[in-house]
């Protein structure tokens, strides 16, 4: 045994940074899971509900009731979740007792990424071999068009979670290029299951919005309401049927409220697109924002209101013309050390 002589305190102190993120042993995680299940049953007892059918939503509601918190950040409030959601998944130790690593690509640094690339390339070569066999036998190559529009590839974060390893943007784009190359070959249907592991279904249709039915007011005239916003302006529009094309904003006619032609054009845009200029009356209220923002807000509100008057196909056309999306552009914040959001201070040589 050696005795430490003439050393500094710096060497003896724990090097906190070199250890990396906290490593949890399997026993620790198991204990946490047992404690969580016990705690769940206790909580159910306390709330007077059945411990067997106590779901995660019930747990969240119970915790929010027992420990009310006024903090803004949801992540900072008290929460009780399953330990697998709280403690991130970690890789087990990659080498045995003699220090020899298990995986043959361990010393590359990104073993799972490179093994994945190797596997994908193997599948590619497989498909090419199959293609060559078919051409030798003079059989026609299968040219079924896969529906590419309904699926998307995994994002970089999802891939990182799958491989339990950090990836760079470059690595990720190379992997996606390889997958696209594989999919582009005619006989790629052989490896469909392998490809399905890396693609996700885009939620079926973007028409999940429910179109409200028409309402009828006292005189029997059909009307519908819509709300719109743009930057800081908020607008509500009520579109009446059997009208003469009059539009009123905050009790004032549009010619007086919007002296600029561009804003009036924007107000009439949805009506002109559907060809119903002289057929509807509109009464709107708008507040906040500037001249152009208010016009954009009213345009969105009137387009949403017109959905109830019009067939589903025309609603789809309106959506493709960009009339039904909320414009997410807002004023960019000013950053410290700069004069504005993008403009830097004048550079002075001395």
């Amino acid at each position: 045994t050696l005795r430490l002589i003439c050393t500094t305190m710096a060497v003896q102190q724990k090097n906190v940074g070199a250890a990396g993120p906290e490593k949890y042993t399997e026993a620790f995680i198991k204990k946490q899971i047992e404690e969580f299940n016990l705690g769940k049953r206790h909580l159910a007892n306390m709330m007077g509900e059945d411990p067997e059918t106590f779901t995660q939503e019930d747990i969240d509601r119970a915790i929010a009731y027992l420990f009310p918190s006024g903090l803004f950040d949801k992540q900072a409030r008290p929460m009780m979740k399953h330990p697998t959601e709280i403690f991130p998944e970690q890789r087990k130790i990659q080498w045995g007792e003699d220090g020899r690593p298990f995986h043959f690509l361990f010393y590359t640094g990104k073993q799972s990424y490179y093994s994945l690339m190797h596997e994908t390339y193997e599948k590619l070569l497989n498909v090419q071999k199959h293609q060559d066999q078919l051409t030798v036998q003079d059989l026609p190559l299968q040219k079924e068009k896969r529906n590419l529009a309904g699926s998307r590839w995994l994002t970089k974060i999802e891939l990182e979670e799958m491989l339990l390893e950090k990836l760079s943007d470059d690595d990720y784009s190379r992997f996606i290029q390889l997958l696209q190359k594989l999919v582009a070959l005619p006989c790629a249907d052989i490896e469909k299951e392998y490809i399905q592991k890396f693609s996700k279904e885009v939620p079926a249709q973007l028409q999940k919005v429910v179109i409200e039915p028409l309402q009828y007011d006292e005189r029997g005239v059909a009307f519908s309401t819509g709300e719109g916003k743009r930057k800081t302006a908020r607008a509500t529009a009520v579109v009446y049927d059997n009208g003469s094309g009059k539009i009123t904003v905050n009790g004032i006619d549009i010619l007086h409220y919007f002296p600029v032609l561009q804003d009036r054009e924007q107000l009439l845009f949805p009506f002109q697109f559907l060809g119903r200029i002289g057929k509807h009356d509109m009464v709107c209220t708008v507040s906040g924002g500037g001249r152009s923002a208010q016009a954009g807000a009213i345009r969105l509100a009137s387009a949403k209101a017109l959905r109830s008057f019009v067939t589903e196909k025309e609603v789809e056309f309106m959506r493709q013309a960009g009339l039904l999306t909320v414009d997410p552009r807002v004023k960019e914040r000013k950053k410290p050390g700069q004069e504005g959001p993008r403009r830097k201070f004048t550079w002075k040589k001395r």
């Binding site: 309904g150 973007l206 032609l261 954009g296 013309a321 960009g322 909320v326 414009d327």
Partner: protein, 215 residues
Amino acid sequence: RIMPVRWSRYDPSYLEPEVNKELYQKPLEKLSEEEREQMELKAIRPIKAAPPTLSSSVFSDPMISKFTNMMMKSGNKVLARSLVSQTLEAIKRKQLEKYHKAPENEKETIECNPYIIFHQALKNCQPIIGISNITKGGKTYQVPVPLTDNRKRFLAMKWLITECRENKHRRTLMPEKLSQELLLAFNNEGPVIKKKHVLHKMAEANRAYAHFRWW
């Protein structure tokens, strides 16, 4: 809020909106498979909101909007738009004067529609080939380079505006100067067309260095 730079507020999967009414009224007799694929893609992907300058009415013209934006100073779109509309009015008035004074046989050749004159004048001003500075071996050479459509349109509009702002008499108003320039450009005369020809001649003169271009 985290706000990364060089980034748009839309997700990259959002597609551009298509405002033209006629494209939507076309029944299923589309041009090719590409259009069909595009339709499918559009049906699933989300679409960006239409900007305030874009509209489906007959009166909105993308070239005129681009020109208005280039004329605009410190965000004063109202002033720029009024200048452009006054220019188009001035063009119409001048052409109508000419029309009423001309003899019968020439009346059909005079073009009165200011939009057509604007488009034709811009087309006449567009250079075909441009020049770019390439430094090789310490010396900078002017190398002839092909231009994209967008760049051609931008150069034509930029030349028109700078020409009107600088080389004219101080007291004349912008619409008058612009209408004069546009009519001259429509007839292939005027200082902007001369500038275009000078650029072409420079490109032809430096033809020897064309192999310096690597793109």
